[in-house]
Subunit: 96 residues, 2 copies
């Protein structure tokens, strides 16, 4: 395989990275909406049962090559990121 | 906001999770192809310069709500996952 073909593969990875970034940001924005609803309802944002449900759905749809433990690890980090954004915003709101 | 609206938001998150999963798996498959090319060329799969380039491109396109340090953390985990898949496959190949 020539250098050009390697470049084509790398461009493909860059495209996929940007799509993943866009979807993770979109996901974070929706999770933020959910957090606002929960806040109004006075319930805790972190919900381990819902988290397990999400991971189970991912398991059902995971055709690889990533193995399930790795998928779970990545998604737990994604979940944590969304909670982190919400906590920061809440702290800011409390300071206003 | 009613429970139904919360359910709608959760469905949206589930849809996004599955799209993200599919793209991360697709990315891992392309990274695997790149790894094979590099193996033939006898070069190391881990390339810190290329990794920095990918992170810089993500930074240029990151419109939030995720902050850049969090994006970098998540993508470093994604990069690591792809390398991990390749290393496991290589170990299997050596055992055959």
């Amino acid at each position: 395989m020539s250098q050009t073909e390697l470049d084509v593969l790398r461009e493909k990875v860059d495209e996929l990275n940007l799509k993943i970034l866009s979807l993770i940001n979109e996901r974070t924005a929706v999770a933020r909406e959910i957090g606002k609803v929960k806040e109004k309802q006075g319930v805790n944002r972190f919900d381990p049962v819902r988290e397990r449900d999400m991971l189970n759905l991912l398991k059902e749809h995971n055709d690889g090559p990533l193995e399930q433990p790795r998928v779970e690890h990545l998604f737990k980090e994604i979940f944590k990121s969304a909670l982190d954004v919400q906590e920061k915003e809440q702290r800011k709101a409390l300071l206003v």
